[in-house]
């Protein structure tokens, strides 16, 4: 088991290295940080001092090595825009994004899976048809439009939910959470629906397709022929066999949720990493952008690892036979 995890971690290193290289290349080729940081009036001496300070006089690979070394220690330098350590900025913003993404993913799973099972089992019922039609909306409407529509209905017309911000938050150590206040929870509702709707419909359609597939296979027929109750056949035998593809997609989608929180955070002015990233892009705040990209890729790698481990837990065929080799 440990060897498996280790090999997966090693396999992901090239990916992380490549992303690091790309992030770093932005420093070298996009914008001129010195010009940005100095503003309009400066002397040549000031400029040279800053260049030296930022290590920009060093050769590319030395700069990259320094960047990597710092990144491993969570050190991404100063934001050009805010002149504060990037690590601090990210730590400040991460809880907002992670809580939003987690809520969205949970909604998508808790609603998407049962809807998928239902539409798979009763594919001709009118409720299934309704779910499927509804899922087309989730798949085809762009996220920002869904967000704006929700704001229009629930914030502008009905006035029951806030249209922007996180509401009140509570500090637990360095983590600020919105889960513990009423306004915090209310503020989460519209953004998490906006963010999770696409994944919800995706999961529903996936589970439905997998259920339809699995319900036709021989071992389900045999389970019925053994007289097992429907509940055991549908949930014990069929649903469990749909889990491997579902875990794969959900894992990938969780990464996507966090990455695409950018749009939702912009629509709802949600003070998370996505908003930070967009603001940084506008001002060519390279250190923040680099850190964000690295963080997101590290997240994807971690999620992939967890997905692999879940495969192991679900499917015994993957567990055994490594040593024995025989099948």
């Amino acid at each position: 088991m440990f060897a498996f995890i280790l090999s997966r971690v090693l396999q992901s290193l090239p990916v992380l290295f490549t992303v690091a290289l790309i992030s770093f290349a932005m420093f070298a080729y996009v914008g001129d940080p010195v010009a940005i940081m100095l503003g309009q009036d400066f002397t040549e001496a000031q400029r040279q001092a800053l260049v030296k300070d930022l290590g920009l006089d060093q050769p590319f690979w030395v700069q990259f090595a320094t960047f990597l070394g710092n990144a491993v220690q969570g050190e991404f330098g100063l934001s050009y825009r805010l002149s504060r350590p990037v690590a601090d900025l990210i730590a400040e913003r991460a809880p907002a994004t992670l809580e939003l993404a987690l809520t969205a993913a949970t909604l998508a799973l808790l609603i998407g899976v049962p809807m998928g099972v239902y539409t798979g089992l009763y594919r001709n019922s009118w409720l299934s048809r309704f779910f499927l039609t509804f899922s087309l909306v989730g798949v085809s409407l762009p996220t920002f439009l869904i967000g704006i529509l929700l704001i229009l209905v629930f914030a502008v017309w009905l006035g029951v939910l806030p249209s922007f911000g996180r509401g009140d938050t509570v500090k637990i150590g360095w983590w600020s959470t919105g889960f513990l206040t009423w306004t915090g929870i209310k503020a989460l509702i519209l953004p998490s629906i906006t963010l999770g709707l696409f994944q919800l419909t995706l999961i529903m359609r996936l589970v439905r397709a997998e259920m339809l597939e699995v319900l036709r296979v021989d071992y389900i027929k045999f389970a019925r022929a053994r007289g097992l109750p429907n509940r055991a056949v549908h949930f014990g035998h069929a649903l469990k066999n749909t889990l491997v593809p579902v875990i794969t997609i959900v894992g990938l989608q969780l990464g996507a949720i966090i990455a695409f929180a950018i749009v939702t955070e912009t629509v709802f002015q949600w003070p998370g990493m996505g908003l930070l990233f967009i603001q940084s892009v506008n001002q060519a705040d390279i250190p923040v952008m680099a850190a964000y990209l690295l963080l997101i890729s590290a997240l994807f790698v971690t999620i992939n690892l967890i997905v692999d481990l879940l495969y192991y837990a679900v499917d015994p065929r993957l567990r055994i036979g490594r040593g024995q080799g025989a099948h």
Binding site: V217, D218, Y219, K221, F222, A223, R224, A225, R226, G227, L228, P229, N230, A232, G236, H237, K240, N241, V314, D315, P316, R317, I320, G321, H327
Partner: protein, 330 residues
């Protein structure tokens, strides 16, 4: 039949598939009985309706297929019109089923022990601990070596032959009185087919379980079955005691099937090939469905459809026996 109800009685069974192009009749007027402890072999070319008959009996026809007529009785009680939940209680408990491919009939995500135990606790009033004990007993009985250790193994850890043994244990573990075995050895290595049939036969005999055994292997039929039903295009062409059907068939189709039986000292392994093909369900000819291929066909054959008629020791759906004498003039 000695006045008593046969264990299974299928009467005038008709199975239809509604399609966009009209209704297909997959089974038409199929009637037969199976007595307690009896083995009925079912043979016929691919598409004749053998699996369909089995599926109708266990109440698992695939929609849109449905029973459109006739009745199926178990112990004299109708089971073809039961609600799903009532029929479910009969499946596994009174009628077990064995499918063709053991590689796909076991759920890959559960141990064989769990699958056995869940079948037993569904139908029998026993505790999970007792079920587990019995599961080991069943694995042992079907010839899995070191059953106590293998009980927590997953299906993929067994060979094909061993998996079919597990399937047999699963079909028998709630002690049903009838087993529907649909080509239980077709997917297996030739070298282990005989072992599996022998196991099935001895267990059925030991437990007094009746069996509907679908197979293409005439050798298996000759060794295992008490009676044989020959199916053609969704109907029974001939049915009777095994030695009569195999050695002195009455229906021209059966004769064709057995026809190219080589000299007596060689066993009949496979059904013989007959010229032409069985008609598709959408194009079953008028009159006797076999008439375009039948060497004995005469005028009436293209007009009316024959029902099963007494033909010596067997019954055959053929106008050659319309005189009622059962004369064997083939």
């Amino acid at each position: 039949m000695s006045g008593q109800n046969p264990l299974l009685e299928v009467r005038h069974l008709r199975v239809e598939f509604p399609t966009r192009r009209g209704t297909l009749v997959a089974l038409d007027d199929v009637s037969f009985t199976i007595a307690a402890g009896e083995v009925l072999g079912v043979v016929g070319e691919s598409g004749a309706g053998k699996s369909m008959t089995g599926a109708a009996i266990i109440g698992l026809l695939e929609p849109p297929g449905r029973i459109a007529g006739g009745e199926i009785r178990l112990d004299g009680k109708r089971i073809d019109n039961l609600r799903y939940e009532d029929m479910r209680r009969i499946r596994g408990k009174d009628i077990g089923a064995i499918f063709q491919d053991p590689l796909t009939t076991l759920n890959p995500l559960y141990t064989v022990g769990r699958q056995l135990a869940e079948t037993m606790t569904t139908h029998l009033p026993i505790t999970p601990a007792e079920a587990r004990k019995r599961a080991i007993g069943w694995l042992d009985l079907v010839g899995i070596p070191a059953a106590a250790q293998r009980i927590d193994s997953y299906p993929h850890e067994f060979s094909g032959g061993m998996r079919q043994r597990v399937v047999i244990a699963l079909a028998l573990c709630a002690e049903p009185r009838l087993i529907v075995a649909d080509e239980p050895t077709t997917a297996l290595d030739v070298s282990i087919q005989a072992q599996i049939i022998a196991l099935l036969k001895s267990l059925a005999r030991e437990k007094g379980t009746a069996m509907m055994l679908v197979t293409h292997d005439m050798g298996v039929i000759a060794e295992t079955a008490d009676r044989v039903a020959v199916m053609y295009a969704g109907r029974i062409a001939e049915i009777g005691p095994v030695r009569n059907v195999v050695k002195q068939a009455s229906h021209p189709y059966t004769v064709g099937l057995m026809g190219s039986i080589p000299p007596l000292d060689r066993r009949v392994e496979r059904l013989a090939q007959i010229d032409g093909a069985m008609p598709r369900l959408s194009a079953i000819p008028k009159g006797c469905a076999y008439n375009p291929r039948c060497p004995k066909s005469f005028a009436r054959c293209a007009q009316d459809r024959p029902d099963l008629l007494p033909a010596g020791p067997t019954q055959a759906a053929c106008w050659l026996y319309a005189d009622g004498e059962g004369a064997k003039n083939v």
